[in-house]
Symmetry: C2
């Protein structure tokens, strides 16, 4: 097991009818900017619950945070914060709204060009305090300090983070799941599942408990997935879905173990280039990445096949191959297609374009061994056509 | 799944050679009181590592915190804090030293009789900041906000807690395990294992992920136990042992599920009455408690038998009974005896004495259903004679 530091100060408020409690978490004299996305919260009642809970505060709102939160939109919030003397942010949404709010939190207290918060590669140690009302389980952003920001004019999708970017609190009310469209539920399940893969399918390092925890999250997602897809109003399934997504990426399972993230890093490029849903990009890349890097990952793939998918027979290689197939079957069971050509008409040149971007950014070796080169990326992406 | 709140702000610093990093966590101008136990830290080198790390601070020390931290000793620290203008506490030890430090933290900022911190039944919202260097994996106190304090003159062992009593940081260096005597290692393994049982062997509540996490901790402890007992210098086993003990009682696995704690509540009385090691009292009570309350616990016992001990055959009742037997075998595999008569010559009257104490304290119903009465306690304790 590797040495590690772990600290996660976010307060989770979990369960039915908990949105009404948010005023307990926000300073009395706060002036709040509420950030949300396309307006679905006005249809499903969450907007009204939030507004009722905040009736004793001065509140300003800004909707329209797009999925893959876009820099040009987010910086409009900085103007509002300045003009309205905002002191507290509240993200009401899924990963995109929360990630956007994290950028706004950091940029609001940053002296300089806001884009530098993304490009300066420094951990953010100052940020405006913010809370979250989660409306879409998937990304884990509600209990971590990372965010991914898009800048369309550069076709860039890049990560930020830092200790100041943990939400002060996050409300996880599983009843919100009942109004989420099928496609977003499927994406959330695939996204959370792949988060675990990125922290697990590397090489053995005798982290017995972390492996078991990762397997626990995957087993839970596999158990609830068909129930959620069949009936998103199934509260028991929704609660386990929601908590599993949070635990998949709140930092715990990655402590003391190597992590990969090649699937995400390549996937972000597919979203930046072609606007393919984030979760779908992960489903596109996973199989070819694991097939291309089979030798270095086969022990963990075999362990996954055995403990998560119940594959008891065969050699390490056979089990590992079965594991890759089972992962692909899981994506497909959610209705998510796993080839790039399922999403775009002409794949030609995509692999080289992504590798060129990585080279230009100075990315030499990716993955848990730091050995996945731009040339390897070309092969991996081509295998996914 | 039940609604829950979860927040755990303790920073964990885990791994080899990490004690030297504690000065990064303590304010520069702090005046530190170091608290420790019987002096084993002076033999195994931990004392010197701590002192080296704190060479730039003003430091006062107080050794001699006894196991089952005793009120009459702990209040001596309050005098030192006052006279020396201490601003920061550092617990260097196992659960007893950490628990004692939590009491001192709360009492140092309490206006009134220090014993009221224990008896006033209020969560502690003020405490002097403190850190931990863990020397004995077992109790989880290094990452939670609870403590158990003993007052010998009353033969009392009682719990305190509150949001102010989380350590600011805890250093978990698994190399400390190599110098721990066999008996304390066995006790640590049994203690941590029973912590999970108390949060798991209740009734099913569709908390899929929490159940899997609890099973993960138990599976990890079972896997490392023989390795630790055979060779405490096995770093890989020690690291998993240490992290499993912390995760067994840092609050995570109990969120959203019912908890029991009858084994601990009765066990504390056996320690208060007869000075039996805490972990041994748990091993004494577990089987009779689960046998006496078999009907209400059998579904979780059967699940435990199946998933943790690999019992695949039989009815729910048969699996549950096998689960109880496997738990007892686990204690015995550590060399821990499971009958009260293994520890004291004359058991007579013990059951009634414990029940009388509970009645006097106004305890009417214990356990996850609140239905274990003092009369039931008499039966449970008698079954353990």
């Amino acid at each position: 097991m590797n040495n590690f530091d772990f600290k996660n100060p976010t307060k989770i408020i979990f369960g039915k009818d908990t949105i009404q409690n948010i005023s307990n978490e926000i300073p009395e004299n706060a002036k709040i900017l509420i950030l949300y996305g396309g307006g679905s919260i006005k249809k499903n009642g969450i907007y009204n619950q939030v507004m009722d809970a905040l009736s004793n505060y001065e509140v300003v709102e800004m909707g329209g945070i797009p999925s893959n939160p876009e820099y040009e939109v987010l910086i409009m919030a900085l103007e509002i914060i300045k003009n309205e003397n905002i002191t507290y942010l509240l993200a009401v949404g899924g990963g995109s709204v929360i990630d956007g709010t994290k950028f706004i939190s950091a940029a609001a207290l940053y002296d300089g060009e806001p884009w530098e918060v993304v490009t300066n590669k420094k951990p953010n140690v100052k940020g405006m305090p913010f809370g979250v009302v989660l409306t879409l389980p998937a990304t884990g952003s509600e209990m971590n300090s990372g965010a991914v920001i898009t800048r369309a004019e550069f076709k860039e999708k890049m990560g930020i983070g830092g200790p100041a970017l943990f939400p002060q609190f996050s409300v996880l009310d599983p009843t919100v799941v009942s109004s989420i469209p099928h496609k977003q539920l499927a994406n959330g399940l695939a996204d959370a599942f792949t988060h675990v893969l990125e922290q697990y399918v590397t090489y053995p390092i005798d982290a017995i408990l972390q492996d078991r925890f990762s397997e626990s999250v995957m087993l839970s997602l596999i158990e609830v997935a068909p129930k959620i897809i069949e009936n998103p109003s199934n509260y028991k399934a929704a609660a386990n879905f929601m908590w599993s997504c949070t635990m998949a990426l709140n930092g715990l399972i990655q402590k003391g173990v190597p992590t990969d993230w090649v699937i995400h890093i390549i996937g972000h490029e597919l979203t930046a280039l072609y606007h393919i849903d984030h979760a779908c990009t992960l489903a596109i890349i996973t199989k070819s990445h694991y097939t291309y890097n089979f030798e270095s990952k086969k022990e963990k793939l075999a362990q996954l096949a055995e403990r998560v998918f119940g594959v008891k027979e065969g050699s390490i290689d056979e089990k590992a191959q079965a594991g890759i197939d089972k992962i692909e079957s899981f994506y497909k069971s959610l209705g998510i297609k796993t080839k790039l050509s399922d999403y775009i008409d002409d794949c030609n040149g995509t692999a080289e374009e992504i590798a060129k971007r990585f080279t230009e950014r100075g990315m030499i070796g990716l993955g848990e061994h730091g050995k996945v080169t731009p040339n390897d990326v070309v092969e991996i992406v081509k295998m996914s056509y």
